[in-house]
Symmetry: C2
Subunit: 223 residues, 2 copies
């Protein structure tokens, strides 16, 4: 991570976080990257197993410039990260904001925000860090939640594994623009524009064993 | 792909499509897998570059038991798939349906539908297949769209690359259930239940060069 005197705090820029196309859509600024990471809670975790790529969806949390990813001690990625050498991973977070329809098939696009983080992940073994990480994993999806549940007991803690990735080689990419047609296509009699896409969190639905009113951390939800 | 006489058509089951945990959430049935693939249009494409995993979001389409993934001829995954030997990939599609809040931190979960497809991807080079694939990529996100746009010209076709993955080693995983608390936790005075999550496609917003009324393929949208 570097904090250049001349600009906002940024993560390091490396060949694999430098896009070969649409370079103006990329940023390495911490604030922009953290904003995207804090707006989602599902990531796609990539790792290599027997030489082949594996991509699994899972939940994550950000604490400063660390990502924590949740799993069970029995799952494949968590076993891979449990050794001293760690496990090379790629963690990708994507938010879709609009479908972009143009007059030509070729210029169709998507408005999106995404973060791609590369690095070596390690299993969290320090009990204090594990406590912080587990609370963050619960609170990242539902802020305030970890204070109003039964905390994990020793047996549950033993069955939970969390991996840590230090954010270092990470970039964001965003497109936030209208239909971008070629000048020669502008007068074609086709419809062009945006279909906005939003993720909506509905009214919380209590389960049959819930006897308490909706707590404040949920009545304020969705964010 | 196998079609066992005793059950619905299913994809082959292999060690890496057989989960080590929550086995009852997995299925290899074609219909269930195709339903999930047809309900989304963003996938996360995983591949290996210089020994390390890379996960990128992109759009895809399903045609029968093939997936087509879109890219530019200059992008890294597309270059990797352009050789005769193809490129090992993992293509993952995830839909989130609810956050599942339980009385214990440990039992928190997510209702979701996901598909993970493993295999070797190849660049589509046959012009007829490329036409089919490009139309499918436009129509998968917005059904009917490819008939009401200017088709790609030769220069655009040359700049577009599509990779194909035959669905073979593929499975789906779903959770569609309520808060699943331990019996000993049921009377704890905490709120448990679901926060429903939906992806909403809003009213299409015409661009400044759109002079035609909203066409039928868009007034019927969202699906």
């Amino acid at each position: 991570m570097s904090t250049a005197a001349e600009g906002p705090a940024s993560y390091s820029r490396t060949p694999r976080t430098t896009p070969t196309r649409y370079k103006d859509r990329a940023t390495w600024e911490q604030e922009a990257i953290h904003d995207i990471l804090d707006s989602a809670y599902i990531c796609h975790l990539g790792f290599v197993a027997d030489g082949a790529p594996v991509v699994l969806p899972t939940i994550y949390a950000r604490v400063g410039s660390r990502l924590y990813v949740h799993g069970s001690t029995g799952s494949r990625p968590l076993r891979g990260a449990s050794g001293e050498q760690g496990m090379p991973v790629c963690i990708t977070v994507t938010l879709v904001d609009a479908l972009v329809l143009t007059k030509s098939a070729f210029n169709h696009s998507v408005n999106f925000r995404s973060v791609v983080a590369h690095g070596t992940a390690y299993q969290v073994t320090d009990p204090e860090e594990l406590d912080v990480a587990l609370a963050a994993l619960v609170d990242h999806a539902v802020p305030g939640r970890s204070a109003e549940v039964r905390p994990a007991n020793p047996k549950e803690l033993a069955a939970t594994a969390v991996i840590r990735l230090e954010l270092d080689e990470v970039s964001a990419k965003t497109r936030n623009d209208g239909a971008d047609d070629d000048p020669a296509d502008l007068d074609l009699p086709y419809w062009a524009g945006l279909i906005p896409v939003t993720t909506v969190h509905g009214t919380p639905e209590p389960g049959e064993h819930t006897t308490v009113p909706l707590p404040a951390h949920l009545s304020a939800y969705p964010r």
